[in-house]
Amino acid sequence: MIDLKTRPPLNVADRVRAIPVRQKYLPVTATAVLLALMYGLGVINYPGFSDTQIVLNVFVDNAFLLVVAVGMTFVILTGGIDLSVGSVVALTTMIVALLLENGWPAAVVLPVALLMGATIGFLMGLMIHYFDVQPFIATLAGMFLARGLCYVISTDSISIDNPFWVSVANAQLWFGGFFITISVLIALVVVLVAAYVLAYTTFGRDVYAVGGNPQSAMLMGLRVGRTRIAVYTISGLCSALGGVVLSFYMLSGYGLHASGMELDAIAAVVIGGTLLTGGSGYLFGTVLGVLVLGLIQTIITFQGDLSSWWTKIFIGMFLFVFIVLQRAVTRRRR
């Protein structure tokens, strides 16, 4: 009989296997390279673009999107989708503004807002897991619900003048002539925590497993239900936190805030190389995806002579070129 141990090393096979390992990082790498190219394009074409503050502004202006996209990454990694995020962001700003207006202390308002977001996410998770409602639909209902609640609270915008909120909103952290805001710090912390959770905790790995094949994950004895409910809860929580960050950014609550943000968040995650079918992707990619979207906007503003409709076409073209190039780089032979 043949002893498998004495097999000579699989030379060809070894080589074959060496590639896939790196291939995992290919989408993220491609995004990073293309992002750098895009930045270069801006620097060459527009005076003043090379200013470091421009890059920092992309973070300042997109901190809330980043926070929301982190939650979305969890959901998409399990193969789901969350359309409710934009509305939950809006609802959060609304609730924050309402409670502050009624004189609630900031220390109470903050947890209440976060809890509200997590609860909505949790309920959608229950619907998806226990009642087998498709994520797209369950979260679409969540989207209607949250947006609807905003209008029930008020159709008008409510401004925030709570001193704590105002001081956080206006605080600028200066270093060497450049500044970021507290919101940027919050976003970065969220990113780091989430990246750690995904890479190093049992829960994080369950997320990937469920995305790889939920049926298998169930049979492997993983708690699929708990994981799925948890990711929607996390997404709800991140949306609420994103809403809080947005309320720092806008100092107001308004039912029309963050309209369409779900698509921005999904686009950011996917541009970052995460597959919508789940199971594959990295949080770092999501950060890059948000930067790509932010940079597109900056370039268009710098361009400064586009009509409203050409603006739309340009955004579309940027997305197109970006995604096709990314695709070309990562395409696998078969």
């Binding site: 009989m1 043949i2 002893d3 498998l4 141990k5 097999r7 000579p8 699989l10 030379n11 060809v12 096979a13 070894d14 080589r15 074959v16 296997r17 590639i19 896939p20 390992v21 995992k24 190093y200 905790t201 049992t202 790995r205 369950d206 990937y208 497993a209 995305g211 790889g212 094949n213 049926q215 298998s216 994950a217 169930m218 049979l219 492997m220 004895g221 993983l222 708690r223 199971g279 594959s280 032979r333 078969r334």
Partner: protein
Amino acid sequence: MSEPLLVMRGIGKRFPGVVALDGVDLRLYPGEVHALMGENGAGKSTLIKVLTGAYHHDQGEITLGGESVAFAGPHQAQQAGISTVYQEINLCPNLSVAENVLIGRAPTRFGRIRWSAVRRRAEELLDRLHLKIDVGSDLGTHSIAVQQMVAIARALDVDAKVLVLDEPTSSLDASEVDQLFGVMRGLKEEGIAILFVTHFLDQVYEIADRMTVLRNGRRVGEYRTADLSQLDLVGAMIGKELAALEDIEEAPRREVAALERGTPVVSADGLGRNGAIAPFSLAIHKGEVVGLAGLLGSGRTEVARLLFGADHADQGKIAVDGEPVALRGPQSAMRQKIAYCPENRRTDGLVEELTVRENIILALQADRGWARPVPRTRQDELVARYVKALDIRPADPEIPVRNLSGGNQQKVLLARWLITEPKLMILDEPTRGIDVGAKAEIQKLVVELSDGGMAVLFISAELEEVLRLSHKVAVLRDRKLVAELDNTDGLDTDRVMAAIASGGVA
């Protein structure tokens, strides 16, 4: 004997339209290997899924260590000490091998997974099965056989009282089966109860102490292996005395001389694909069965896929009936009347939510294009013919193929390609997971097809089967075609093994 560790009593389970289990009893004692036997669709996998809570049963009771249990899901079953390898490999292809072995119970410190420990532990476990692969690689990049081993390694890691193995050996070759049995014997000694499903009767007699036989969702009986002859076992499974078993055992070896080798139906000349298979040349003639032998991962599937155009060859030529052709994809291969039954029926073969009829008709229809539908009456006629010929059960062509048992799904796949009446049929592990009776049928079918002039490329992990059916055996090793052996009197499993081992003719 001591008290049974696990008792299932009066288990009933219905699916829409089918009674999969009807009052089934099962007893498992500590320190025994217990075989669960039955034809395709008898209810074995269903019973296992009921046991582990993957399905909820309608009737009956389960006790473990004397206590009544009802698991809400595999997670709870695992917690209670039941470790399971399911029939269709259920792992996550997107995760690394190491993670697949350990996910759900990876060692942590302060909530942080210790990745180095995970890798080490996975390597140890795979080592027990003598599998040396890079545990950091993605599981999905490995062949089914390797995945199967990984699934087993995963089950072995648990501190289990009961180990359930649903057809773990279906894609393993002889030496791997040996490794597995070695491990199973060790576990048995430790007092673990093992429930084992296989369609290989020899394996049952080699390893099992007792067995429970199912037929049509009912328990036929519980036997000591020593008390039941192979023939009686088959009789119990099938429900009648059957000579089929002897038929296969005594089937005459294929006569090479009887074959006229004119222009090959399909010939490959220096065909190869970088990183997948080294350039090889192979000719398959009208009415000839060519067997592919090799260890797992040796590149048999790669050969098949290149010949079908499923993968793109980056060197070499293919000729059909002597005419050079370019295979740009499965469609162009089908134009040349080449058919391919893939080994992984779930991912590469079936469309699970389509019906049996639709799955059978699929390739024929694809070939005609969407605008020229196969008339319904013709569909029904063709499908009925093959459902009958292959004895597909249940014989209702309008149920989703998902609801069929593994073996019957395999037959559906075969039927799909048979109705296209190919010149060359490539069968990649067509008998995996098929019961004795059906296996005999399929082997008979291969003989009939080749007698009728069809060329067949036959891939199987069972060397005996390859030798029994093939006129010629091509031997692969490490993704290289190393030998081509005519199936003359002198050829036996030992010589093929030797060829595999040495990389040439012994």
